[in-house]
């Protein structure tokens, strides 16, 4: 009873896009695909959807191959956003729902319901081209879920959304999760992952470099992180001078440091107290996903290096 990706290989010409990917995504879970551009996230999703065929390997949902399950199993929000520009929103959404076998009446009702929820009911009779990018994205999300799919695959769903719309989309995620749907999405926004995901996989050049529940992934590094804030000394310059302690981030709220595995993180607190500092905040934490990501993949690459074919829109 889960989505199982088993030893999937996929090559585009000279480039190994997916290199022995194996994953298990449990039903009802929110799963995050992390990776730099070109890591293989989009390709992996397209292969799960059977839009592309792998060179070898299989994908199964609840024990049945993805080539055999109904297409209505999947809801897909592609990274390449696109709607019929001249078509009215309601008409368009009903069209997509009907393609998935939803009855007209039901599709209309569901569509209006979701437009309401996204606070754009007045756009039902507008043409898609009249909507802002963010609103178009919400329409596309609705298009992906109208047929009540069991698995929702979303490629970079939060890219280009303002905070208000992002919050609305997160609410919708929660709603789908409450309905027992399995949610898979790709992103390179680490805070979103930490907020939403139960499990993740970090992809790099077509390989899964680390995967599992967010908690396990965080603990897997064996690194220790402390966060410290003291009264009247925002810099805490002395922290870096401690043996086996390396400052990783200085912030307004606290300073973050990594403590060598040989050391007890409590030495930081002891040192602070020994110096007579008034400790406002002390925390022993797991490393953030961002740190883990950087550790495994290197610098977050924001350049437009991508393997999945991308539309050139002129």
């Amino acid at each position: 009873m889960s989505l199982i990706i088993d030893s999937v290989f996929k090559r585009f010409g000279e480039v190994q896009a997916l290199d022995d990917i194996s994953l298990e995504i449990k039903p009802g879970e929110v799963f995050g695909f992390l990776g730099a551009n070109g890591a293989g996230k989009t390709t992996a999703m397209r292969i799960v959807l059977d839009i592309l065929r792998p060179d070898s390997g299989t994908i199964a949902w609840n024990g049945r191959l993805n080539t055999e399950v109904s297409r209505d199993t999947w809801g897909y929000l592609p990274e390449e956003r696109g709607l019929y520009a001249k078509m009215k929103v309601l008409e368009q959404l009903v069209f997509f729902a009907k393609l998935h076998g939803v009855k007209s009446k039901e599709a209309v009702r569901e569509t209006r319901d979701w437009l309401e929820r996204f606070r754009i009911p007045e756009y039902a009779e507008r043409r898609a081209e009249e909507l802002s990018k963010g609103n178009q994205q919400k329409i596309q999300f609705i298009a992906a879920i109208l047929h009540d799919p069991q698995v929702l695959l979303m490629d970079e769903p939060f890219t280009g959304l303002d905070p208000v719309n992002a919050a609305l989309l997160k609410e919708a995620f929660q709603e789908m999760k409450d309905r027992g749907k399995t949610l898979v999405f790709s992103t390179h926004q680490m805070d979103t992952v930490e907020e939403l995901c139960e499990s993740i996989a970090i992809l790099d050049r077509g390989r899964v470099v680390v995967g599992g529940t967010v908690r396990d992934v965080r603990r897997s590094t064996g690194r220790q992180v402390v966060r410290l804030a003291v009264e009247g000394d925002p810099e805490i310059d002395w922290l870096g001078t401690l043996d086996g302690v390396r400052v990783t981030r200085r912030g307004q709220d606290y300073t973050e440091a990594e403590v060598a595995r040989s050391q007890d993180p409590a030495v930081v607190l002891q040192a602070a107290l020994a110096r007579g500092c008034k400790v406002r905040h002390f925390e022993i934490a797991d490393p953030s996903l961002e740190q883990i990501f950087i550790e495994h993949v290197g610098q977050i690459d924001t350049s437009e290096r991508t393997l999945a074919p991308k539309a050139v829109y002129a």
Partner: protein
């Protein structure tokens, strides 16, 4: 590819969407209205010409001052003036006869413009032969005056001489006259004018197919490229199969195209039917019958070949359209197909002059050309029923092959974004695509 089982209802939904979005577009509405208007106007051209010429009829009054005119003189004059058109609804000359003592009122009618010319017939008292005086403002060296001159001489004067000699034109008309072929076992050759009109008809039908395929095939390609460009494609790919999309697009755009075509043809037919009444209204007399020589067999063959040829080429257009993602590139992507269509078109136009040549006969079975060439052969009438059936079977088979090839190219092409894709790349990609 398990598309057959699930082709409907999705292909149907897609075709309805395609049809609607096409039929609602401004270019479609404007184009249809404009073309239908032009077509209707074109059918009224004869009326316009007649109207511009004032009237194409010459109204002639004949004042007979000569005694003892033969009784069939009016018929003889009218027949000579009008030739073969004498018995149509709109003969070029209308003749009215008055006796010699009405000369004054006839002169008044002429002056009032009720007639274009007045012909006064006298008899020479010495020789008893007829003499003529023509009063008119028409050019004295013009066609009309010359025709009246000839008709008076060879119609009236001859008829009168014959009557005085004790015979008549009617009696001469009963002279036996038989036509036989050179070789007694061969059939009679048919007339040149018949050949020309059937050639014109088949050329017209070929042009109709040619225009429809070029115009509406391009629509299909445009629609595919547009969808790829607008990036709805990936959403569609999750909801449908490439085969469903392909079928829906071809049917939807095809139906929109045929609708426009139907409206334009209706304007033409309506225009031709209205030609008579309009002519009556504007010019004051009715014109000849517009229809003739449209063989129902040719018409049926036309419909079959039109639909099948259109389907076949539309599929190919869709496949080529999927190779590009911008509408501007559609023209260059589909140019090879355009060449092929032009080749077929010119082959059939030249083929009409050489309909029994071997190359025409062979090419008329090739699916790329059969919509034109088989139609040409059928309209000229030099084809056996099995030949037509065979061409249709080949065409149907080609459509099935085109459907699968196109679906393959399509499913690979739609995901290869952003580049002008070569056929080799597509064939490579089609092996890995669904």
């Amino acid at each position: 590819m398990n598309g057959w089982r699930t082709l409907f209802p999705n292909a149907w939904y897609i075709s309805v969407r395609e049809f609607r979005s096409r039929a609602r577009s401004r270019s479609f509405v404007l184009g249809t209205v404009l073309l239908a208007g032009i077509a209707f106007a074109a059918t009224q051209l004869p009326v316009l010409i007649d109207f511009a010429m004032g009237t194409s009829q010459t109204r002639l009054e004949v004042v007979v001052r000569a005694a003892d005119m033969p009784s069939d003189a009016p018929a003889a004059l009218s027949a000579t003036l009008n030739g073969q058109s004498a018995f149509t609804a709109h003969p070029p000359y209308v003749v009215s006869w008055v006796s010699g003592n009405e000369l004054a009122s006839a002169q008044r009618a002429l002056e009032q413009g009720k007639f274009d010319a007045m012909l006064i017939v006298d008899r020479d008292p010495a020789t008893q032969s007829l003499g003529f005086t023509l009063r008119t403002d028409l050019p004295s060296d013009g066609q009309v005056v010359r025709t009246i001159n000839t008709a008076a001489t060879w119609g009236l004067a001859l008829d009168d001489s014959l009557a005085r000699a004790g015979t008549s034109i009617g009696a001469l008309g009963a002279t036996p006259f038989t036509v036989l072929p050179v070789n007694p076992s061969a059939g009679l050759a048919h007339s040149v004018s018949q050949d020309v009109s059937s050639d014109l008809l088949s050329t017209g039908l070929i042009v109709l197919i040619f225009m429809a395929i070029i115009t509406y095939g391009t629509w299909v390609a445009m629609s595919v490229a547009e969808e790829k460009g607008s990036r709805v494609m990936e959403l569609m790919l999750n909801a449908t199969t490439p085969l469903q999309m392909l079928a829906g697009k071809v049917i939807g755009n095809g139906a929109a195209g045929l609708t426009q075509y139907g409206i334009i043809l209706a304007a033409v037919v309506g225009g031709l039917l209205a030609q008579g009444p309009i002519h009556q209204m504007v010019v004051g007399s009715s014109s000849g019958a517009p229809f003739g020589g449209l063989d129902p067999v040719v018409l049926a063959a036309f419909v079959v070949l039109f639909v099948l040829g259109f389907l076949f080429y539309s599929l190919l257009y869709a496949a080529l359209g999927s190779l590009v993602s911008r509408q501007e590139d559609v023209q260059s992507a589909t140019s090879p197909l355009m060449m092929l269509i032009f080749v077929g078109y010119f082959m059939s136009i030249f083929g009409l002059q050489a309909i029994d040549e071997a190359w025409v006969q062979i090419a008329s079975f090739v699916p790329f050309f059969s919509p034109y060439l088989m139609l040409a052969r059928v309209s000229v009438g030099h084809v056996a029923i099995w030949e037509f059936a065979l061409a249709v079977v080949f065409l149907l088979a080609a459509i099935v092959v085109a459907l699968f090839v196109a679906a393959r190219i399509y499913s690979a092409g739609v995901l290869l974004y952003g580049q002008r894709v070569g056929l080799r790349q597509v064939l490579k990609a089609s092996r890995v695509a669904r």
